[in-house]
Assembly symmetry: C2
Homo-oligomer: 336 residues x 2
């Protein structure tokens, strides 16, 4: 075991605009052994999230930026291979922020031992992980969703969007999803039970919103920013809530973020736009996971995953799929 090698993806330089292969360093170092109170594990699944792009910029945010030369931050699922920790046994599957590397040593803090009999392991990176929590608390707490309201979500076919729409349906709301391409839209209104879907690549989003949300939008859950946010702002109902979750259309911009020109609609509509960070709701994650787990068990919520099978070196190009709209549902890299 002393000869085990730990392959890692480290940040080599800060990207400008789209992340390039040269922004990463592929490094191999000897795998560490667990000390007393620690366990070692092998990475099985790595989560790919739009928020990763923000972590690469050197500016203040809700988490410090990934440092140059540091292993890239990522949520992942590992399998315990050696343990000196009383609560973790060899073979256990553990979720945590272990980074983009093949081997991990950990004292267990900030991790979750997962029950693979209840749901497939990767579910803990999606529907039962951060994207699920983000959808749940963003919609119900920040969005203060009420039964019977009209919900619109952008990035609707993504990890968070698919959950937002389905949770809103489970709570008795009308749901319109905005996504790119006819396949994603068909999935939303088909398998996922959305009331309507708008293909932003083919349709005038504002006109389509007026058609599908004729009485206005009560909760707009925004994952994309840019022109789609502006279209939604133009179609708010009175006392609407705009939940600012992300702005994937802007993350690779080299000319600065495009601010929402229609923000004065907040005044006319007595509406609010509010941001949040899912970690603030950590004390209630277990409660949310229970409710989401029940919806999954009863078939009310379908878990949508886009699993790429490969090696650690596939991380950079897999990440780019997010910004090209190439994934449907939660994007995961499974190390085979």
């Amino acid at each position: 075991m002393l000869s085990a090698q730990n392959r890692q993806i480290r940040l080599a330089r800060r990207p400008v605009g789209e992340v390039r292969p040269e922004d990463w360093a592929h490094v191999t170092e000897p795998a560490a052994a667990p000390a007393a109170g620690q366990f070692a594990g092998r990475t099985r699944f790595i989560s790919l999230d739009p928020a990763m792009r923000g972590w690469l910029d050197d500016r203040p945010s809700y988490l410090p930026p990934v440092a140059l030369g540091e292993v890239m931050r990522a949520g992942s699922i590992i399998e315990v291979t050696e343990s000196n920790h009383p609560d973790f046994a060899v073979g256990d599957l553990v979720a945590g922020t272990f980074g983009v590397q093949e081997h991990v040593v950990c004292d267990g803090r900030g991790t979750l031992r997962i029950d693979a009999s209840a749901a497939s392991p990767s579910t803990y990176l999606g529907a039962l992980g951060m994207p699920g929590m983000t959808a749940y608390f963003g919609l119900l707490e920040v969005g203060a969703l009420q039964e019977g309201e009209t919900v619109v979500v952008s990035g609707a076919a993504g990890a968070v969007g698919t959950m937002v729409g389905q949770i809103a349906k489970a709570r008795g709301c009308r749901v319109v999803g905005i996504a790119g391409g006819p396949e994603k839209c068909a999935l939303l209104t088909g398998e996922l039970g959305f009331d309507a879907a708008i293909d932003y690549r083919a349709e005038n989003v504002k006109k389509a919103l007026r058609t599908h949300a004729p009485d206005g939008i009560d909760v707009y859950f925004d994952n994309v920013g840019g022109e789609i946010l502006d279209a939604a702002l133009a179609c708010l109902a009175m006392r609407a809530r705009v939940v600012v979750c992300g702005a994937i259309s802007q993350y690779n911009s080299t000319t600065g973020v495009q601010g929402p020109a229609n923000y004065l609609s907040l005044l006319v509509r007595r509406a609010r736009m509010e941001g949040f960070v899912v970690f603030d709701h950590a004390p209630r994650f277990a409660e949310a996971a229970r409710e989401i787990g029940q919806w999954i068990a009863t078939g009310r919520i379908k878990v949508l995953e886009h699993v790429v099978r490969g090696t650690l070196d596939d991380f950079p190009q897999t990440l780019q799929m997010l910004f090209r709209g190439e994934n449907t549902g939660k994007l995961v890299l499974e190390l085979t």
Copy 2:
């Protein structure tokens, strides 16, 4: 009395960008006589408000646009000259939305008979009128102000801004005002008791905010939009509230509104940006006027008015003073 003439300012065409003299029609028509249940009055004071610019555009808002050919909408104070109404006597001063005209006939609905012994009549267009109500409910209800918080207000030397800062001081907060020019800034920190003032024409607003609000802004009350809104968004405290009251820097734009590029700060700071319309709070106007009246009576709040004395024909150029930052405090046209 049959020969009395009613001079009026009517909207002749919709302005593009800055309002021009040719956008108005100066009209004279015979003054009407009051029917049973009506009274007639002569206009004494006309209110000039930034919101007027929005009423001239043909787009949906919280009030319908002023129609082409219609008398310009305005709040004003009239003196009753003839009455067939049991509740109004000759000599009474009455506040209402009577429009930019010299003579008015009215059945009394939506008006307020004012007590000129308690405060000078024009106060009912400012500190005790819509600007005062806007400051009061925007700050206390929408902004959910708490004692000890840091408040920043833009357009701080205007009708609403002077009231926002003083109400926040009266409620035990630290107050920073943003205004244009050293005279206005001196007034804010001098007579009005603000803790600090930033001259946006001479200073880097973001840097100055970091100096004067080192722990971040808890409530930002925005009257101006544009770059100043962006600077404030960059300096929010956690769980800050941004109150969207207006955007005077954008009203004359011919290239579209500049959206706040820093809106993602709402996410990082778990903050919200919320719009409101003062009329929604009408049921509580009397309560607010009582509290503001007490603050005025005890000298806690100073009433700041910029009274232009002239004729009805001076309305167009007086209105432009607002957009050129030429007024300090509430701008009023007194007909002499």
